[in-house]
């Protein structure tokens, strides 16, 4: 996202806040109305189109080393196995000596196994508004996430390295800074908050945490783009007026470990559809 458009978005956010308060007062319960149609939207979700492309990419021999991820990338469930991998990440990977979320892990595999350059992937890691195609990495994450559809989150918090990432993520969520002196928890650490028409989940609770990770990667109706949890976290930083993290940063993995860990036991529905 460029500076000009985020500036515009900030303006529109503020202006619409006042408007929607009166609109909300008139309508009975807009959220109930949204929910009514959300099931229908999920039933035919364009995210599936990105899944198809991701599966092709996963299975294709690619990169300077001409190997497929299916034959070279271990997501923690065995070589090339996608099933149940997404709901068990972030996890610790000994070969990389790091705790990684799904996107970070796939990027690591693309670099280490296939021979792609990290900087090339990081040049444009997210689909911009109205870009016709999502980056390959987004399609891959979407495919991997689809392999965990209707499975329970099961982040291995018993692993000391994962626990460490969880605790750091928890502290990051509480860290107040920036021109507004905001933390993640300013909006997402208590019950009953709302931005315009959208209710905000409390990420400290299992019910709230699952709402934070559910539906990502997600097909965003605005702009018709496919976006990942990595993008979502970066955008949170942007909205707090923090500097945005570098692509696939450890800080984002830590936050995802905190949120996904708090979601343990809750069912992940697969790639979603977002407003």
């Amino acid at each position: 996202m460029n500076i000009a458009s985020s500036g515009l978005r900030l303006l529109s956010c503020t202006a619409a806040l006042a408007l929607s308060l009166s609109a909300a007062a008139q309508a009975k319960d807009p959220n109930a109305e949204f929910e009514k149609f959300r099931a229908e939207m999920e039933e035919s979700n364009p995210a599936e189109l990105f899944e198809i492309k991701g599966e092709e990419l996963w299975k294709a021999r690619r990169g300077p080393k001409n190997v497929s991820l299916a034959e070279s990338c271990d997501l923690g469930q065995g070589m090339g196995k996608v099933e149940a991998a997404y709901v068990k990440m972030p996890r610790y990977f000994a070969d990389a000596d790091a705790v990684m979320d799904a996107e970070r892990r796939i990027v690591w595999c693309m670099v280490e196994k296939q021979g792609f350059k990290f900087d090339d992937i990081a040049k444009k890691p997210f689909q911009g508004g109205n870009d016709n195609n999502a980056p390959e990495i987004t399609n891959l994450v979407t495919y991997v996430a689809s392999g965990s559809r209707n499975m329970k989150f099961d982040i291995p918090l018993g692993d000391p390295k994962v626990r460490d990432a969880f605790e750091t993520g928890k502290a990051t969520a509480a860290y107040r800074a920036g021109p507004y002196d905001f933390s993640c928890n300013t909006c997402h650490g208590v019950d009953g908050k709302r931005i315009r028409m959208q209710n905000l989940p409390n990420l400290a609770t299992p019910e709230g945490a699952i709402k934070g990770v559910q539906g990502w990667p997600g097909y965003r109706m605005t702009g018709g783009v496919m976006l990942t949890s990595q993008w979502r976290m970066n955008d949170c930083f942007r909205q707090q007026r923090f500097p945005e993290p570098k692509y696939a940063s450890q800080a984002v993995t830590n936050l995802l470990t905190y949120m996904s860990g708090n979601s343990n036991g809750q069912i992940y529905k697969g790639p979603g559809i977002k407003r």
Partner: protein, 156 residues
């Protein structure tokens, strides 16, 4: 309805030529259809022009034509719409958004067992009436509902 739109609209001469091309393998049927796109109706800037374009200027309201849309849409870029016609012999359904720059969104002709029941997702630039038009036995019927378009939160 056993005839396709192609033969109805183009008449005997044109369809004869096209049928010849299809038989020769020069054109696939879908390519022929693209040429049939109702430019006048789809490029009409107002509802009256669009209705005229599809020949539905004298449509009457019907309770047997069901239009399911949200009262309030979470995102104007993707508004789900579902149209069901219980009017016997419904051969086509069209959908319009009155305040869009080009109100006509789609027209579906049915044949060979198709039920007059279609769902789609539409862009809406602003709060507007959404209109469904059904054609049955040469007559046109209509139903409409307002959809409020909101601006949502920032993140999703």
């Amino acid at each position: 309805m056993n005839t396709t739109r192609r033969t109805v609209l183009k008449g005997a001469t044109a369809s004869g030529v096209l049928a010849g091309l299809i038989a020769a393998g020069a054109l696939r049927p879908t390519l022929v259809l693209a040429a049939d796109w109702n430019k006048a109706a789809f490029e009409a800037k107002d509802t009256a022009g669009a209705l005229k374009g599809i020949g539905a200027t004298a449509a009457s309201e019907s309770k047997d034509l069901m239009l399911k849309v949200p009262d309030i849409a979470e995102n104007g870029a993707v508004v789900p719409v579902d149209v069901v016609s219980n009017i016997p012999n419904t051969s086509s359904i069209s959908i319009l958004v009155e305040k869009n720059p080009q109100p006509l969104c789609a027209q579906f002709d049915f044949a060979n067992g198709a039920v007059a029941d279609v769902s789609a997702r539409l862009k809406m630039g602003q709060t507007s009436l959404v209109k469904a038009v059904a054609k049955a036995d040469g007559k046109f019927y209509t139903a409409q509902k307002e959809v409020k378009v909101t601006v949502g939160g920032c993140g999703g």
